[in-house]
């Protein structure tokens, strides 16, 4: 017998003891806060989203939406969201275009009163007086525009199902947020280095994306 042989009985005792060890141990209470702070400090491109705040997983779910299930999915919100998003995007584009008209002459270069999608693209590329502050805002706006458009396409398959009350609520909510975005953007145009304003404007966009995302998720199942 060599030292390398493990006594079978002792081994079984060890394994029995091992089985009693807890598989779950609560982490320190502040751990999530640290993780969240670390994630929020990362560039947006490093998140799970591939293009814009909606990943391909959301778009891919169009297949799931169309697939047959043995119970019908309530889809009241799908077309509602479609109309709201399309309308909201147009509203924002018009509102932003109006907001841009309050800028100084040098900032208005390149901003033309054209169709919403083209205007949004131009606004995204519009020159700024304070690149550090407005650049962040512009990146958020680009994400919003792309995401809103993709969501509209995703939900287009459910055009024929509507709940009027919910459509009204969503339309009104998006209008409220768009107005807030417009006001904040106008203020930022006259005070481009105001970090609090950038924070508020980003927050408004995030609220809109969150509402759209939640709507899409509720309509999915």
């Amino acid at each position: 017998m060599t030292d390398d042989i493990v006594d079978e009985q002792r081994l079984q005792e060890l394994l029995a003891l091992t089985k009693q060890l807890p598989r779950s141990i609560d982490p320190p209470s502040g751990a999530w806060g640290q993780i969240r702070s670390a994630l929020e400090a990362e560039p947006s491109s490093s998140g799970p989203r591939t293009t814009g705040p909606f990943s391909n997983a959301v778009i891919g779910r169009a297949d799931a939406v169309r697939s047959t299930r043995f119970w019908q999915r309530p889809v009241f919100l799908a077309a509602a969201a479609l109309l709201l998003v399309a309308g909201s995007s147009a509203i924002t584009a018009v509102a932003v275009r109006r907001g841009d008209s309050s800028r100084t002459g040098s900032q208005q270069a390149g901003v033309q009163p054209t169709a919403p999608r083209q205007t949004e693209a131009q606004i995204a590329a519009a020159p700024t007086t304070s690149p550090a502050t407005l650049a962040e805002f512009t990146a958020v706006e680009k994400d919003y525009i792309v995401t809103a458009q993709r969501l509209a396409e995703l939900l287009a398959v459910q055009e024929d199902k509507l709940a009027p009350e919910t459509v009204a609520t969503l339309r009104e909510s998006l209008r409220i947020i768009d107005n807030a975005i417009l006001e904040a953007r106008r203020a930022l145009a006259t005070d481009p280095a105001n970090a609090a304003l950038v924070e508020m404007l980003s927050g408004s966009y995030q609220k809109k994306l969150d509402l759209l995302r939640r709507t899409a998720e509720m309509a999915r199942s």
Binding site: G33, A163, I176, I177, A180, A187, M200
Partner: protein
């Protein structure tokens, strides 16, 4: 909190079309103490109550033209009300007793959701109905579009979002996020980490903070009213771009904002402690003195 997948060997209680306006349902199914329950309903109500049994009891009435399905295993079960015509679904009302530690997931269209006495986790989603939670679940995630969300109790952490409905929590919670677009937000209690955000709704916070916490308030045009004990230890950073700030917590006065517009207030109360950040675009902000914390 592991959710295990339930095999879809559903025992279909397919009550089918009925000549009666409503059909009664009554079922009892075994479930592990921390089992998972998933419930879909469209219109009507879902009332869930925790009890000290390893089983689920389902009683209620199923609206005309609807069928009720339930199935699963002891680790997890699923039930749903299927409507033949989703556009005009009739109301079904379910009263469900569940193991007190069960993990509950509910999604409805306009059916109200009411949960009491459950200490497991809650995920509650409703489009147009209301959500009411009574008790102390380990955590709550509640979302509505135009319904109210009311939490009365002390969840470990809570996330509640509605677009136009009221969102309210009365109790204590270590980590809270309450969010609306135009609905009001009300919090009465104590928290360590909190986020209260709206666009045009009014925010009302009445209570206290745990030491070394971090609290954020964010509104575009809704008012933000924060009532705190006189000697609460907190560091305040308040900015209103175009609105007013009123401080009745202590004698520090706000100053004019940038370019003479709006107001700002940075100050520590009672040697500081919890970090409180308040951002308002044009809504008024008020700090008020309330009853001393117990």
């Amino acid at each position: 909190m592991a959710f295990t997948y339930f095999r879809l060997g559903l025992v279909s209680v397919a009550l089918g079309l009925s000549l009666e306006a409503q059909t009664k349902v009554e079922r009892g199914i075994a479930l592990n103490p921390d089992g998972a329950i998933r419930i879909y309903a469209l219109v009507g109500s879902v009332r869930i109550t925790g009890w000290n049994r390893d089983s689920v009891s389902i009683r209620g009435t199923i609206g005309k033209g609807n069928t009720f399905h339930v199935g699963g295993a002891k680790a997890g079960m699923k039930m749903f009300v299927e409507s033949m015509d989703q556009r005009s679904s009739t109301a079904s009302h379910l009263e469900i007793s569940v193991p007190v530690k069960a993990k509950i997931w509910v999604k409805t269209a306009t059916a109200d959701i009411d949960v009491s006495g459950v200490t497991g986790s809650l995920d509650l989603y409703v489009v147009g109905g209301t959500i009411t939670v009574n008790g102390n679940p380990s955590d709550v995630n509640a979302e509505a579009i135009d319904g109210d969300i009311r939490i009365n109790g002390s969840p470990g952490w809570a996330r509640a979002k509605s677009a136009s409905g009221l969102v309210s929590l009365k109790g204590n919670s270590g980590d809270v996020t309450l969010s609306t677009v135009s609905g009001g937000i009300e919090f009465e209690g104590r928290t360590e980490r909190g986020k209260f955000e709206t666009v045009t709704g009014n925010i009302r916070y009445a209570g206290t903070f745990l030491p070394r916490g971090a609290i954020n308030f964010d509104s575009h045009s809704g008012s933000i009213d924060v009532t705190l004990p006189e000697f609460i230890g907190a560091d305040f950073d308040i900015v209103s771009i175009a609105g007013s700030i009123t401080n009745k917590l202590n004698s520090t006065k706000p100053i004019k904002g940038r370019y003479g517009r709006g107001s700002e207030l940075s100050m520590s109360n009672a040697n500081g402690g919890t970090r409180v950040a308040i951002r308002s675009f044009k809504g008024p902000v008020s700090l008020m003195r309330g009853k001393q914390a117990q």
